[in-house]
């Protein structure tokens, strides 16, 4: 068999990203000022983003194992945004936490590389590869504050439960392979159709196992147990990173695997995902009501948001998928923004992560409070913010697919969520400050806040462009 050189153009962004991550890892040894590494990372990711637009990028390569299409590209844009925003909000924060080490940036880039591979995976093995790369890097990042017990606990919990999920995934993959004799997503679908495998218990089992593994990644109930602890204990910048990136990657693979490999048995996996979605919205929103730690509250909020986004998957229509992608992008902006404000509150000797720390923030720091207000209303889904547009698109797609009852459940939970998001607003605006909170600000933090605020408001008022992008990305 002659060795044919595969077309490398579709995988160019991943290649650039790998080089970048390795470069940062090596440069760390020589560069004393870690801020330089941050700058280099941001620039490097920007260069990678340029690679998205190279001619010939949109293609399939490695014999269908790697698919670079509009769908994966949209997610890669989210990942790039995620990594840039994370680095921007980390710079000063790492200093405050006294863990300003260079491998932080390299790990973030490796995790992002994993996500990019996941989004483009056309084969279950490639998918697994990307997933593990992402997961392993994130485990380390979660425990990055080495001297802090909570951070250690977060990493360990995330790692243990994550390994479980990986095992489930492998088991699911092996069942699928055993049935169809292939790990290629397209060919799995073909074999299911040709050999009439639909309805076979083993196939159903395989789908359930894969669904469980992915539900773990997106922190869907009942596989969410790790999330609150991991989110609370991890460095806040990594909490922000985890709540956007791995979640979006999880959704990317759910959409890809279930719509590409199992379209014939949609009825079956929909019955798996509907209860998961309802439970996720219910538990996420209701448990968030009673949280006193803001990171924990946002962890539950992030669980709840996964529930809404699952509706997009359940519809199984192009509009549904596009609405899910759109939601992930919008969620990235609003959640990053909220975490940026949380990070600002952290200063030397002051944790600033309990909700009562926000008392009277509007009096001491009116601008920070106003920004937080925008993000909280956006997370609630009140127009004219982006959060509303995201939810609206999902609800619209679901109703069009005939899931009106599911949408009614979703909107009720969405209304419930107003209570805990507005509680933050209430603390900031309607209480008097107890102690003076000092904000840790930096130019990069300002930039991150500017990007997220402008995006949340602009997408909220002029969503046409973003909606169009998501819609054409998924053919």
């Amino acid at each position: 068999m002659p060795l044919v050189m595969p077309d490398l153009r579709p995988i160019a962004p991943e290649i650039v990203m790998t080089c970048l991550a390795l470069f940062i890892l090596v440069a760390d040894v020589f560069i004393r000022r870690k801020e330089t590494l941050a700058l280099l990372s941001v620039l490097g990711v920007a260069v990678t983003a340029f690679a998205f637009a190279l001619p010939g990028v949109l293609n399939t390569t490695f014999g269908g194992m790697f698919i670079s299409d509009g769908y994966s590209m949209f997610f890669k844009i989210i990942f790039a945004l995620n990594v840039i925003l994370t680095v921007l909000i980390s710079v000063k924060y790492l200093d405050v936490e006294k863990v300003n080490f260079g491998e932080y940036y390299a790990l973030i880039l490796f995790a992002t590389l994993g996500m990019m591979i996941m989004a483009s995976a056309g084969d279950l093995i490639v998918l697994y590869l990307g997933l593990e790369l992402m997961a392993l890097s994130t485990y380390v990042l979660a425990g990055f504050i080495r001297y802090d017990m909570k951070s250690n606990e977060a990493a360990l919990k995330y790692f243990l439960l994550g390994s479980f999920a990986s095992a489930f995934l492998l088991y699911g993959i092996s069942l699928a392979y055993g049935l169809t004799g292939t790990t290629d997503l397209g060919r799995i679908a073909m074999t299911i159709e040709q050999q009439g495998l639909a309805g076979k218990p083993a196939l159903t089992m395989s789908m359930i196992l894969i669904a469980v593994a992915f539900s773990f990644k997106i922190a869907a109930v009942p596989f969410h147990m790790w999330a609150p602890d991991a989110y609370e204990g991890a460095p806040t910048s990594i909490t922000a990173f985890m709540s956007v990136g791995p979640k979006a990657a999880g959704f990317a693979v759910i959409g890809r695997v279930f719509l590409m490999a199992f379209p014939m048995v949609r009825a079956e996996w929909v019955t798996i995902f509907i209860p998961i979605a309802i439970l996720t919205m219910a538990v996420g929103n209701i448990v968030a009501l009673s949280q006193t730690n803001i990171k924990r509250m946002l962890a539950y909020s992030s669980i709840a948001h996964a529930g809404y986004a699952l509706l997009g998957i359940i519809t199984g229509t192009p509009d549904g998928l596009a609405s899910m992608m759109n939601y992930m992008l919008i969620y990235a902006f609003m959640n990053m923004g909220a975490f940026a404000v949380i990070i600002m509150l952290r200063s030397e000797g002051f944790k600033g992560d309990t909700i009562s720390d926000y008392e009277g923030l509007s009096k001491t720091h009116p601008l920070a409070a106003a920004l937080m207000l925008v993000f909280m209303f956006s997370l609630t889904g009140i127009p004219p913010t982006a959060g509303f547009m995201g939810k609206f698109y999902i609800f619209m797609a679901a109703i069009n697919a005939g899931y009106t009852w599911l949408v009614i459940i979703a909107v009720i939970f969405s209304a419930i969520s107003a209570y805990f998001y507005l509680r933050i607003v209430m603390y900031m605006y309607m209480k008097d400050p107890k102690e003076t909170v000092t904000l840790t600000t930096s130019p990069s933090m300002g930039l991150a806040l500017a990007i997220t605020t402008v995006a949340v408001l602009a997408i909220g008022m002029f969503p046409a462009k973003v909606v169009y992008l998501a819609r054409v990305a998924f053919p």
Binding site: I382, F388, F395, I399, V411, A418, V425, M430
Partner: protein, 510 residues
């Protein structure tokens, strides 16, 4: 883009001028309080001046939308930026611009902390309110409808009374739950009509009767909470009582009108058969609200709470008139919405005037105010009598028309509603007696009478009370054509087969 005959997009200007004003306030340093107030006042006066040509240029001979603006907004979903006014909505825009000025004036000295945020909230609220009344695209309507919640939530929660946090979240959650159900209804309607949010287009189609019923109730959830109708009225007393004066005034004058406006603009023309079939339910709820609200008023010891409950009663009249489904009832209902905006708005303004001096809302803390503040007392009696509905005041015209329409539609409802007026006279006069007459309370001795600013705030309301009371046709003239068109749609809309079902449902309910 369509032209509106004004030479410039007047409705967009009205919506976004206050928002631009809010952005301008954002840029003014916090320490320049006088400048902040002055800019806010100027912006609101400018908006009012710009809204005046609507009054004169409006063509009363047609029910068609006027001052129309239309522009593609989100083409992927077929959403347009579509604004326009007809005889039903035009008066509310004028009311909104007027009330905003008065709210700013009345807050001049009483708001002392976070001044900048306060005026920003008021101005954004004004823009959103005007947007609600102008929007002719359902999606756009929903955006304004919800966006309004944010500044109102802050107004109640930040500058309100002791129990403000509870009142603010209650207001927000009640409204939000109702609204999201309407959102589901809107989307269902959108797909059924073939992907359009155009209200005018939607109102010409016929929907299956069963679907009309479901959607009617989905919309009811949003509008009934806002009106508020019995039994979802419980947020109102809290919100009204705890809100700062300006918040109460805007809430009473404009915000709760949006519920009734929603019935007129959406529920009735979109679902005519469901509206007809549900008339008995609506009339019953209205009558309960009228009597229940009035009786509760008798037991109140808090000035603002009493006026808040009187709103429940008065809005019961409004919904009674609307669902009488005849010309008198509908015109009376719309006029009464304006009247209630003026009178209750004025009553809250008046309470604000005295609250600024005494910082108490308890009726028991007052007494003998008439001898201390004579000018104030004479203004207050005008509003009291207008609220009761004395002939030659605006309240009389509205309530008379509603009772006329209500009696025609359902005699029992008409009779029961009339008792509400009698109780109304009871609680309002008793209130006046306890506050202004009797022995002079030590807490009110030596209070200064209304100053120039307060007089200027209250006088426009006095003028309007008598203007509508003596020559209502200035205002009713706007409605005739639109109301006629609406009644035509409600009574003839829908397939003949479906109306037969509607009839049986009506019979069952009766």
């Amino acid at each position: 883009m369509e032209t509106n005959g004004m030479g410039f997009p007047i409705l967009s200007t009205l919506i976004f001028l206050p928002v631009a004003g809010a952005v301008l306030l954002l840029l003014i340093p916090r320490s320049k309080e006088a400048l902040i107030k002055a800019v806010a006042l100027c912006v609101s006066i400018l908006a009012f001046v710009i809204s005046l040509p609507l009054f004169t240029a409006f063509n009363k001979a047609t029910h068609a939308m006027q001052f129309v603006e239309r522009q593609a907004w989100i083409p992927a979903w077929n959403i347009t930026y579509f604004l326009g006014l007809d005889g039903i909505s035009i008066l509310f825009v004028l009311l909104s611009t007027l009330v905003t000025i008065l709210s700013i004036l009345i807050s001049w000295e009483s708001i002392k902390n976070k001044i900048k945020e306060f005026y920003i909230s008021i101005l954004i609220l004004e823009g959103a309110m005007i947007g609600v009344f102008c929007a002719l695209d359902f999606f756009l309507f929903y955006i304004f409808w919800e966006a309004m919640l944010i500044p109102m939530y802050l107004l109640i929660g930040v500058w309100g009374g002791p129990n403000r946090v509870y009142a603010a979240i209650k207001f927000f959650l009640y409204t939000l739950v109702g609204s999201v159900l309407m959102l589901v209804g809107i989307i269902v309607l959108y797909f059924h009509a073939g992907r359009t949010f155009d209200i005018l287009d939607l109102a010409t189609r016929t929907y299956p009767y069963q679907m009309q019923l479901w959607l009617f109730w989905a919309f009811f959830a949003a509008f009934a909470v806002k009106v508020p109708m019995f039994p979802v009225h419980t947020w109102l007393p809290d919100a009204h009582t705890e809100a700062p004066t300006a918040g109460s005034v805007i809430l009473a004058a404009v915000l709760i009108k949006m519920g009734a406006y929603g019935f007129l603009r959406f529920s009735m023309p979109l679902f005519p058969e469901a509206a007809r079939a549900m008339t008995p339910v609506m009339l019953t709820l209205s009558v309960i609200a009228i009597i229940y609200g009035a009786v509760i008023c008798l037991a109140q010891t808090d000035l603002k709470r009493l006026i808040a409950y009187s709103s429940v009663s008065h809005m019961g009249f409004v919904t009674l008139g609307i669902f009488a489904l005849n010309t008198q009832g509908l015109e009376g209902g719309i006029l009464q919405m304006i009247n209630h905006g003026i009178v209750t708005g004025a009553l809250f303004l008046s309470v604000g005037v005295i609250y600024d001096r005494t910082h108490t809302r308890q009726i028991a803390d007052y007494g003998g105010v008439a001898s201390v503040m004579p000018v104030y007392s004479s203004l207050f009696i005008v509003f009291t009598l207008a609220s009761i509905g004395l002939p030659s005041t605006n309240g009389f015209i509205g309530e008379f028309l509603i009772l006329l329409g209500g009696f025609t539609a359902n005699q029992l409802a008409g009779v029961l509603a009339a008792t509400g007026i009698i109780i109304g006279a009871g609680y309002m006069l008793w209130l006046y007696q306890r506050v202004f007459f009797m022995e002079t309370n030590a807490k009110v001795t030596g209070l200064a009478d209304v100053n120039m600013r307060e007089l200027v705030t209250l006088l426009p309301m006095v003028i309007l009370v008598f203007w509508i009371g003596i020559y209502p046709d200035t205002f009713l003239g706007f409605m005739h054509e639109s109301v006629r068109h609406l009644i035509e749609r409600v009574n003839t809309g829908g397939a003949p087969g479906a109306s037969a079902i509607a009839k049986t449902v009506t019979e069952i309910l009766q």
